[in-house]
Amino acid sequence: MRNEAALRRTHRTASELVVIAFLVISAGVGQPAFAQGMAQGPPAPPTAKTTKCKGLSIPPLEDVTDKAGIRFAHNYSREARSILESMAGGVLLVDYDRDGWLDIYFTNAPTVGEALQGKKARGALYHNNHDGTFTDVTDRAGIGTPCFAMGGAVGDYDNDGWPDIYVTCYGGNVLYHNNGDGTFTDVTKKAAVADGRWSTGAAFADYDGDGFLDLMVTNYVDLDLHHLPEFGSAMTCRFMGISVQCGPRGLKGSGDSLFHNQGDGTFTDVSKRAGVDDPSGYYGLGVLWSDFNNTGRPDIYVANDSSAGYLYRNDGNGKFTDIGMQSGTALGEDGHEQAGMGVSVGDYLHSGRPSLVVTNFSMDNTPLYRNDGNWDFQEVSYAAGMGLASVPWVKWGIAFVDLNNDGWLDLVTVNGHVYPQADQLQTGAKYRQPKLVQLNQGNGTFCDASDQTGPAIMEERVSRGLAVGDLFNDGNMDLVVEDLVGKPMVIRNHGISGRHWVNLELAGTKSNRMAIGARVKLVAGGMAQTEEIHSGGSYLSQSDTRVHFGLGSATRISNLEIRWPSGKVETFSDLAADKFYSILEGEGVVPAERIRPKPVSRRGSHPEISATAGKS
């Protein structure tokens, strides 16, 4: 490995030489050419290449934001003179009214100037009308202005059947209890989950198997709104010779929090006891839970900006051990620290083991940590053909998702620079950037389909959060992208004709109600696929918690095995494809209404919600 690394450093491609020449000219002698404090990554190996997709069915991806009636726009600062104004933009998919259709919650943040005046920025909750359109129900829901919001996660922390929303914020997070009648109540204080620092990522999971969802929260930089570092004032406030916002390098980082759900409406901060409090104060961003080694206990991955990532192994006694270094997931392939931002897991190889991707800054590849079992991961992004295409972009939200329903998990990444000032540079770096769609070729490699899916993906934006889910209940996985600047993008996946699929909604009875952490293994058409149900992940976002599998040409599922978080294993056979199944722990496949709570009726309920409640 070391010899290979040395070899790679001595070989550069022509385009890389040009980039470096520009850096020297524009940066001036002695000025460091890194941004957000990040050293640029090592050059790609000479064998690295990007393959355009050929011979694969590529689904059309259409921007339907306007058609869908989405009018939300993220607040933004044109100059983003503070790092506080660059990091927000998480988006959550949540069926808040349990009618079987995904709704969307967009978070929002004020500018620094607005925040100093005490102003808030309004987020938006959009109710899915089941007809391709959405309605803004924010005000009625009471969820519009929680805080200086970054992103969040969804989890039913009280197991009442109504998914609750946790919003991460600068200066105090908010836990919204879903009242079951279209409204939410801020229960943060009672639950004691405010944290109070600059929180970014969040994810629910039941780490101790007591049937209640616990909560992991990452924190970024320790900043005082009234004493922000001055734009361009230090070495860590310069990028390729120009003045930019400062940080995160050069700024003090913040530790992370793990809140244990006491099962009575309150949580206890067990961060230190559990060993996940991050005393070094790395700049925590994306976070997710996954059972990496099939122990039946969820582990944690934290993507840290400009520093090593954490892979916390769940030791089963309320304690975790960071094995990021030993496992090979802490750093890039050559051992360099990367700007870890978004994170996703998926069994892209059909090995039965979840592999890990982490987005990061430009001039650095998105590492793909292939899970080889026994806590051993190999960074294979270049060998897998997806690394090189990722290098030019500043990457944020990312998701493993089967876009073309062939049974193999593809990759979607959304991008956008940190600095509006990047547009001034001669290097070609731009503030607005296209997205990346990479299709799994079923042999451990990916091909680039970005410019073959339609104009939506190639449209240059300043994107941040990405959530994936079947918004239109047609068996195709759609994308919702929240941009930092302005409008989001709701992308409808028109799928591939003739391809089959299945969608499973799980509900725990002994396990937590949303079955977060359940592992589902499906065999169809000779292929075995494995998925988990996750809260959080991507970049500060929440995807559909229903489990979607593409089945290719298979019209029946020969075997389905569910390992519930409680440890119970249930097996089902011979299910038809192209259906939505509701599965209740201990009972099996049941009608949808069996896993949904009865709506709570209150005076003045929204007529549209009342009309649509209970219909599937």
Binding site: D158, N159, D160, G161, G211, F212, Q262, G263, D264, G265, T266, N293, N294, T295, G296, D315, G316, N317, G352, N374, A507, G508, T509, R513, V523, A528, S558, N559, E561, T571, S573, D574, L584, E585, G586, E587, G588, V590, R594, I595, P597
Partner: protein
């Protein structure tokens, strides 16, 4: 100290004092002086014999005691001391004979009966030993040691209940006798009364914590109780006393497995194996530890190693099959289950696991065969009937499916999935009314299960609010829990507590009544 060398009595008395002061050599000198003056002096001979015993010089001790008996054949103490010395020399037969002679001379001395009983017990003659102990007790009902010895003899004879009674007497007479408590505990353990056994062992721990095997036994009881922390502490203490005891390492490892400390368990099993490499059960246990760590390769290797020692261990083949299944090697797993069943056709779990795996592999007839076998071996295995019914349904054998599912429900009426599947089967059979009944039953059960989740949370919240003095908030939570699950006894009970505190006595009384009707353990506070 000095005495007239020609005065045998004075010399003897001086020697007795010196013996008590443990000035043994000086005592011997004075005793020899006394015997020079009066060779037939039995007391001096006996004392001289005892002096040599103290010095560990058994041969001269026996010689002197024989002379004592020779010179004083009617001296019961002489026979007794000679008997004691002979028993120390492991000449138990002769010792018994001397005790009999002593008893013939002094039949009313309870300690002689007790000592004879002890000698007989050493020769494994437990019934005559018990007789002697009973005689000792008959002569002195406060003779604590005799009760202890009788208890031990009865244990050896297999009369555990009798032993328990005698040992109970012993500990009542002398609550500080650690040995008596130890045997008391071991008898209670053998009788299955683990709590009583634990209590007895804890008494020993309070008196003599270093009693051999105590900590190991306590550790095992803690382990069975699920008290992992205490078990671990006890085993560690046992290891301090006997660091090379493989059984203790094995037991500690099992406790660590219970706690979920796979790494610790592996270490301890490895140590046990180092100390006793030919123990296949240790090897198998190590495999289980690897399984818990999800290190399937190592688990498989370990089970295979254990099987090399004991190829006919059905349970090891079963464990190996599980590991192979977890590694998704279904054909190998199936082969191992089949081997385990060849060795032990009554292993119900192996039939079940094999049945499910065959079903997953699509071999329905073979799956049915295995699942039917489970129901033959364990007729109360509801889950097996449920799975069997589901497989039959998939084979479109609806009458057989109905029969199996109804049996599952008969055994476990709360099996919601069985009701739902049965409803579907009944519809296929055209029995729509019956299908409706089952569908409703399944719906009701699953509704209760999901509601119970919310009800549990609401009750927990209410208890917290109650503890904080928020009565209105607590009452609201308990009512919410009850509306979710009207039969949730704990919610009724807690509501009653809250109402009582609020002064709503009548409603509180009704709620207490309701709670105790639903769960008789919930008794209103006084």
């Amino acid at each position: 100290m000095s005495a007239d060398p020609k005065n045998a009595d004075a010399q003897n008395m001086l020697a007795q004092v010196l013996l008590r002061l443990r000035e043994v050599d000086q005592a011997i000198a004075h005793l020899e002086q006394a015997l020079e003056v009066r060779p037939t002096m039995a007391a001096a001979r006996i004392a001289l014999g005892q002096a040599y015993e103290i010095k560990g010089e058994m041969d001269p001790a026996v010689v002197e005691l024989r002379r004592a008996v020779e010179f004083s054949p009617n001296n019961a103490e002489a026979h007794r001391e000679l008997g004691r010395a002979l028993s120390l020399e492991r000449k138990t037969g002769e010792a018994v004979a001397e005790l009999h002679l002593a008893l013939r001379l002094a039949p009313q001395r309870p300690e002689l009966h007790d000592e004879l009983g002890s000698l007989l017990a050493q020769e494994s003659k437990f019934e005559p030993a018990a007789t002697e102990f009973r005689r000792a007790i008959g002569l002195n009902p406060q003779f604590e040691k005799a009760y202890l010895h009788l208890g031990v003899a009865l244990v050896a004879s297999g009369d555990l209940s009798g032993a328990a009674k005698q040992l109970e007497h012993a500990v009542q007479l002398d609550p500080r006798d650690a040995t008596a408590w130890f045997y008391h505990g071991s008898v209670e353990e053998s009788l299955g009364d683990r709590e009583a056994a634990m209590h007895s062992y804890q008494r020993v721990d309070g008196i003599t914590p270093s009693m051999p095997d105590l900590q190991r036994r306590m550790g095992l009881l803690y382990q069975r109780r699920g008290d992992v922390d205490q078990a671990e502490t006890a085993f560690h203490q046992a290891l301090q006393q006997t660091p090379d005891n493989p059984e203790v390492h094995n037991s500690l490892a099992l406790t660590l497995l219970q706690r979920g400390d796979g790494d610790g368990a592996v270490r301890e099993f490895q140590r046990a194996i180092e100390l006793r490499p030919d123990d296949a059960s240790f090897q198998g246990n190590l495999g289980t530890a690897y399984l818990q760590k999800a290190d399937f390769e190592s688990a498989i290797a370990q089970f295979r190693a254990a099987l090399k020692m004991t190829p006919d261990a059905a349970n090891l083949h079963y464990d190996l099959a599980l590991a192979l299944k977890l590694k998704d090697d279904l054909p190998a797993a199936i082969a191992e289950w089949k081997e385990s069943l060849r060795l032990d056709p009554n292993l119900a779990d192996a039939h079940y696991s094999l049945g499910v795996t065959l079903w997953q592999s699509g071999d329905f007839p073979a799956a049915v065969e295995q699942l039917r076998e489970v129901t033959q071996i364990q007729p109360q295995y509801a889950e097996a009937y449920y799975t069997l019914g589901t497989v039959y349904k998939q084979m479109k054998k609806y009458p057989e499916s109905e029969e199996a599912l109804r049996k599952a429900i008969e055994l476990e009426p709360d099996l919601a999935g069985a009701h739902t599947t049965l409803a579907s089967v009944l519809r296929q059979l055209g029995k729509d009314d019956a299908a409706e009944v089952e569908a409703k039953a399944g719906a009701q059960l699953s509704q209760e299960k999901t509601s119970l989740q919310a009800a549990t949370f609401a009750t927990n919240s209410g208890k917290r609010l109650l503890a904080n003095g928020d009565l209105d908030g607590a009452i609201s939570q308990f009512r919410s829990a009850i509306s979710s699950v009207p039969t949730y006894a704990l919610a009724h009970y807690q509501l009653a507590v809250a109402l009582a505190r609020q002064g709503q006595k009548d409603e509180a009384a009704r709620e207490f009544q309701k709670a105790s009707e639903l769960d008789s353990h919930l008794v209103p506070p006084r």
